[in-house]
Symmetry: C2
Subunit: 166 residues, 2 copies
């Protein structure tokens, strides 16, 4: 019998994936003209968010922002150093279309780790990061502070494609 | 060496959990007054959503809305029949505070499965569900179509606590 700590990790994994699937299925239902079914998917996604965040809280997995940045840097570093490189190589070997997003992700996670590191240094000194303009490439997940680059250094789209998240 | 299909499942799990953690960490950063760090967490969460949805697409895991409802019903049924009951029992045995959300979730997933089943019957007949008012209990994840119940049948909060998701 797994411990409750182990159960919380597994339930968090399940709820997080349910959230993401339902969010994606909502977009598809909207495209197919099922507006109320899309709303049901979005609403249920939020129910799963409540469950996932409740499990995190019960597992004491929400720390101070400094703690949370350390956790985030650990995840990003694992992804770009260990997780994604062999996945990318395998997709290339199979000629699988997954290689596109694996290739984008391995580069984007490196950028995320560096930005979180910058934020950690500020927060440890009691400060916020100074840049309030934070730009996202919606094709590959690249992020740039201040102003978007002329072309995305990962996927090469133009600056005008970048968006900010409210 | 895992196949790309297996890698896509694992990468989707990782990205979905990163999305949920960063969303939660953003709320915490906001509470601690780090508004720009909060925005960095929210923006990075969206980058992980892009990766997760790209992996779903590369794995051909986004079907028609009817297919997606079948997938969703399968997940909800697994959670309320198999996954959550032993987790709840173990939390009770440990006297762990996790039992609260495990108890809410096991009941809420049953409701989600039934609502998705209702939506599936409509969609299979070429129709949308008729109710556009869809109410969420933000404490336990209960969902009700049409109008909120006087008290949540799972966690007992009043109707006025229920919310709708845009
Ligand atoms: Fe759930
Ligand atoms: Fe990342
Ligand atoms: Fe890009
Ligand atoms: Fe990612
Ligand atoms: Fe559910
Ligand atoms: Fe409730």
């Amino acid at each position: 019998m797994p411990t409750t700590h182990e159960n919380l990790k597994n339930a968090f994994a399940g709820e997080s994936q349910a959230f993401m699937k339902y969010t994606t299925f909502a977009e598809k239902a909207e495209k197919e003209g099922f507006r109320n079914a899309a709303k049901l998917f979005r609403t249920t996604a939020q129910a799963e968010r409540i469950h996932a965040q409740g499990h995190m809280a019960a597992d004491d997995a929400i720390g101070s922002t400094a703690d949370n940045l350390v956790t985030a840097i650990g995840g990003e570093t694992y992804e770009h150093n260990e997780m994604y490189p062999p996945m990318y190589e395998q997709a290339v070997a199979e000629g699988h279309k997954a290689k596109r997003m694996f290739g984008y992700a391995v580069e984007a996670e490196k950028v995320h780790a560096a930005l979180y590191q910058k934020a950690l240094e500020a927060v440890k000194a009691g400060n916020d990061i100074t840049e309030s303009d934070i730009w996202l490439c919606p094709v590959c997940g690249h992020i740039e502070l201040g102003a978007p680059p002329e072309h995305c250094p990962i996927c090469n789209v133009k600056a005008s494609v970048y968006v900010q998240i409210a």
